[in-house]
Each structure stands twice: as structure tokens, then as C-alpha cells.
Amino acid sequence: MYKYDSIDKTIVTERVEQFRGQVKRHLDGDLSAVDLAPLRLRNGLYMQIHAHMLRVSIPYGLLNSEQMRALATVSRQYDRGYGHFTTRQNIQFNWPELADVPDILKDLAQVEMHAMQTSGNCIRNISSDQYAGVAPDEIIDPRPYCEIIRQWSTLHPEFYWLPRKFKIAVTGATTDRAAVQFHDIGLEVVHNDAGEIGFRVYVGGGLGRTPVIGSVIREFLPRDDILSYCEAILRVYNLHGRRDNKYKARIKILVKAMGIDAFRNEVDAEWAHFKDGELKLHKEDFDTMEAFFPAPAYEELDAGDARIEKWLSLDSRFVDWYNNNTAEHRQSGYRIVNVSLKEHGVAPGDATDEQMDALADIAEQYSFGEIRVTHEQNLVLADVREQDLLTVWKALDEHRLATPNIGSVNDMICCPGLDFCSLANATSIDIAKQINEKFDDFQELYDIGEVKLKMSGCMNACGHHHVGHIGILGVDKKGEQWYQLTVGGDASNNAALGTHLGPAIAKDDVSDAIDDILHVYKDQRNDDERLVDTFRRIGVEPFKTRVYAEAQ
């Protein structure tokens, strides 16, 4: 993975000291809480219902064991012994003291981590495919490009006070696991007919109050031009994005208002001024960056280790875990292991300090010391030898990290909701628990197959409910918590927004409604059809009829 050089170290260290100064001025009474707010936000520090919340950046979701241990230490030393992994592959601590935050950041800087631009109206952490470098369907490894964009966008002086936040995602695989069509800029690394590397560029996608699927602004952008082209998009947005209404300030609203063709013309006109200037990248820049992301030192192994068959025949719990939580690897004799952070009864995405430390050890011993964070709030050990799977499973299971529910209804994306977040209208975590309790028969879940269940506690959509195969949105109705359901959303290549099912559902009835949806699916599915495929074929009506049958 990327290693800081003296330039990175200087900038991160100086940013910590700058923030220390800002906090000190505030505590000394020289900087008001109102004026501190935008400054602390640009360093990942929010004010939540009960306390501050610190969001630490995990660039494109990639961590090493040392960093994971540092996060565990932070949670133990400065927080309440756990962290929450987020849908943008970052981690949040819910209980730090403001006065401690500069020291937390200093500790994190020692392991090459920071909290820069994890919130605020600026360019956020670059997110990517959690299977980068190991997926069988990968065409080009996106990580070097993510890192190049990360550096360019870090403390960019012109784009620090944008109309609204700005999110960039990069994928390099046939299957989009990074939801690039739902980002302000989405980049798909592709080859052109001449075999050159470049990007298909999407712009103006996003969730939130106004969900929009991104438009293609450029079918093929040569990779040398990626920074200058992003700079042109950002300048047009910075100058013309709406600032009078925060709910209409994202770039998606500007692109919609102008139309993609007019927006493209504006960007091209801007770009023409500096396209071949200092921002142009050279081949050696890519070569240098790619060298930070080599394939690990794989052993030459045969695919399909014989021991797997034996283990599968002996232990049904291992079977469930193997089938659900591991995925095919491009290197024979290896598998990708998904670490479920969706244990029954635990807030989705939460991990304790003890679990983080354990994972750091397991990764070090069995997966080249690297861990990835997924946008579905799980973790990944990307390079596990098949022959080690039983040991790894046992080790994960010992730490309650092997719940065999990846991709199932129980593997839901869920925002922190009303339990923590000052924006939320409704609880998310209680609903997650209710669903976990309702669907505790895992064999039944396996029969249902892949269901992306995504839940947000308010219309800001941190839980990506619009793109859930089943989406749940918490709303406030005269002080009561109600839930709106959608069906048929999809964050991957066949990007789609979910269709509204009907009137909001009372809190206690949510899991029953989901059960109804799953029953319709089971009754109507064809062979090998997932819920979302059945929905596409039969439409929303049968689901609606069943869910609201009793009410009529």
C-alpha cells in the first residue's frame, strides 16, 4: 500500500498542529463555536447529539495491521472501546473529548492516517472497490489512481469552501462495487480501443434528498488528464453550484439544471485553458504509484485445495461461512474473506477494540497484513490461502466476526440514526435489531439469497436506502417514527433507484413488511433470480398488494 514520503509526513503533521492551534484558540475563547465548526468539520470532527464524533479517513478503504491497531488503541484510550466503520470506508469514534482530538490525530499521524476532509463542503475521501487488486473481474487496479487523486485533492486551496460536499469514487472492475454512478464524480478505469488506459467519467450522481444516477460526461478521458479534468469540473461547480439552499447545492442539481451537454461544454471550455499544464500526469507518475500496490508475494498454489472439501463435509457452520463470507480470488489457491460486522444485536459496522486488534493479528498472519473496509460496512481480508481458511474462520469466529450473513437481509447497511446523529428523524439501529431477530433462521436467508437491505434514519440517505434492493427510510410523523420502504434499487452497474412501495409503515411492523416482500419474491421467483431481478420482471404491484393487504 502507499507509504508516506517526507512531503506527506510534513503536510499531515502540520495539519495536526494547525488543528491543535484552532482547538486551543477556541478553548481560550478566541474562536467562537460557530467559527470553529467549519474548521473542525474539515478535520472530521462533528458535534452529535451526545458528544463530538471524529471521522478518520481510510483512503479507498485500505488499512494495514499497524493502522488497525492504532484505531483500536484510539477507541480504548480516548473513546468507549469501539469504532463504527462507515459507508464511505472510513471509521468514526462517537465519544472523543474535543481537547483530546489533536492528540488522537497526532497518534494517528504516526501510522500515516489523518482525518482531513472527512467532512465539510470539500473533496472527501476517495472511495473504491474493496476487492481492488484481487477480484477476478478486475481490469485495472484502481488504487494507484485513487491515491493520485487523494493527494491532488488534499488541502486543495481553491476547493476547500465548495457549495456542498464532494465525493469521488473509482472502480476498475466489470462489476461496480464502488457505486460510482452515485458519486459527484464517478470514475471507471477502462481501456480504449488502442489499449490505452483512461476513465469513463460520470458526474452528478448522488443519494441524499434528491437521488440521481450520474451522467456520463466523458466516455474516455486519457489517464494523463485526470487531475486537470477534475479541476475543471470542480472549478465550474465552485463558481456555479447553488449556495442559497443547502439541499440544492450538490453538483447533481447544477448538472440537472444546466443539462449534461451544457455542463460538459462549460467544463471543456474551462479545461481548455490549462489541460496541458502542470496538472498533466506522466507515465512515470503512474509507474511510481503502481509500485506501491504490487501483488503480494503469493505462493504458487493449485486451485481448490483438497482440505476445503474435507472441511466442508465435516462442519456445516464452516460451510455456511465459506459459502456466504468468502469470495473467489484471482490467484489460484487463495480466497477473499469477508469479515462480517453485522453480528446479531450489534449496530451494523461497529467493531470493538478487541476485535480490531484481533483482526490486525489475523491479517498479519494470514493476509499479508492488510485489511479493507467495504462501503457495506464490513471488512475484508483480501488474500487468504485456501489452506488457512479453517484456521482463519475459527479465529474470526472466536471474536464474533464470522457471522455467515454477507449479502443477506441481515447484512444491512445502516446509518447511526437517531441514537447518535443530530440530523436523524428515526432510529436505524432498533430496526436493524428487529430485522435480525425476525430473520434469525440463516438457512432461510440462504434460500432467499442476495438482498441488499439499506436503511437511513433520515432523507440525507447516509444508509443509501435509495439503492437498496429493499430500502428503508426513517421519517418523523408528528413525533412518531415511521418507515418508508422502497424496492428495486441497485448501486451496481445496472444503477437504479428504488420504487416507493406505499405509505410509511409503523416502527413495529417493519420486519413484517420485509417478510411480506420476501414472501412475494419466493412465490414468484424464477430459477436463479435474485429479489431485485424478480422485481424488475414483475414490478412493484405484487409487493405492494401483499405488504398493505392487512391494512385494507
Binding site: I7, G21, Q151, H156, F159, N238
Partner: protein, 194 residues
């Protein structure tokens, strides 16, 4: 000539919330990382403002007034300073840059970053060599990035601690990307090392 300019003005909105609402007179200005006395008065834009309403002394004028009355303004004693508000654009004065000593960028709210792009363009695209001065809701924590984008003078409100704010110029000794300063793209620098 005058009629062409006037026709252009009619299409421009006047006295929007992004313009200076009341005349601004700050006692100090930070130039070249040092605090100096300031005598530049920034004239607020109103619907009726004409060149006859202007007080004596060094003033900056709203862009509309400049476009309306260039020659009268140039005939005045002292420096020529023109405001370009966040909702205006430097493109309106690209032909006039040699006649202007100071371009004033008024910040109604520091969270509005449009003027960073104005400064960037004025320096890098249009080659403005005069002073670019940030005025209004401008404080300690904005000075570094404003400098990087091409501003070289800052009027902090009189209540601010100017001496403390000078620290802003020393907070970072390195950068990742080019801007309107000497900063270079980090990859170009690494390229030179290899």
C-alpha cells in the same frame, strides 16, 4: 463606446446579497505578511450609486460603477481599486487589468469559496500583476489558502487579532498541488527526484 458599456450593465444585477452592503473601512491591512495602516474605503453597491456620490480619498468601487464610469474613476486622485464580488466574474474586467491597481474580493461569508476561483483566474489566466485584496468576512484561518490562490492583501475586521493571524502564513511548509503560488504538483517534484 459608452453606450456599448451601458447596455452591458443593464443586464447585470446590482446590489445583490453578495455585494458589499455598507461601506467598509478597516484600520489595518495585512500585506506581505506584515500589518500596515489602511486607508482604502470600500464603497457599498446600491441601485442608485453614481460617480458623483463618491467621497474623496482612496476608495474601491463596485464593478458596476467601474464599468459605467471608467474614465471618471481613472481621473480621480490616488489608486484605482475595483471590487469583484462572488457573484460577478473576472471576465468582465480582463480588458481593464492594466488600469487597475487593486482588485478587491469582498467576502460576505467566508464559507463562500467562489472568490478563490476568481483570484486563481485573475493571476493564472489573465495575468493580473496588481494587488488582490480579500475584504469582509476574512480571518486567520482563510489567509493561507487565499494566498495560495493569488490574494496578497487581507483586511481582517478590526476586532480580529492581526498579530496572531500572521501565524497562518507559517502553518504549512509543503503542498500537494499547484495553485497561483509557487506550489507545484507533488508528482512533478517526485518525477524530478527519480
Amino acid at each position: 463606446m459608452a453606450t456599448v458599456a451601458n447596455r452591458a450593465i443593464k443586464a447585470r444585477p446590482k446590489a445583490t446579497p453578495d455585494r458589499i452592503q455598507e461601506n467598509i473601512r478597516n484600520s489595518k491591512v495585512v500585506v506581505a505578511e506584515a500589518i500596515e495602516d489602511n486607508d482604502l474605503l470600500h464603497i457599498a453597491e446600491t441601485e442608485e450609486l453614481t460617480v458623483n456620490d463618491l467621497p474623496a480619498g482612496n476608495i474601491s468601487v463596485p464593478l458596476n460603477l467601474w464599468l459605467e464610469s471608467k474614465s471618471a474613476l481613472q481621473a480621480r486622485e490616488g489608486i484605482t481599486a475595483v471590487q469583484v464580488a462572488a457573484d460577478e466574474s473576472p471576465e468582465e474586467i480582463t480588458e481593464d487589468l492594466n488600469d487597475i491597481d487593486i482588485i478587491v474580493l469582498p467576502f460576505v461569508a467566508y464559507i463562500d469559496g467562489r472568490s478563490y476561483s476568481h483570484a486563481h483566474k485573475l493571476r493564472l489566466r489573465y495575468g493580473f500583476k496588481g494587488q488582490i485584496r480579500a475584504v469582509g468576512d476574512v480571518h486567520y484561518d482563510q489567509l493561507d489558502f487565499l494566498t495560495r490562490c493569488g490574494c496578497d492583501a487581507f483586511e481582517l475586521p478590526d476586532g480580529d487579532d492581526h498579530q496572531a493571524a500572521l501565524q497562518a502564513f507559517k502553518e504549512f511548509s509543503d503542498v500537494y498541488q499547484p495553485a497561483a503560488d509557487a506550489g507545484r504538483l507533488v508528482f512533478a517534484r517526485r518525477r524530478a527526484v527519480h
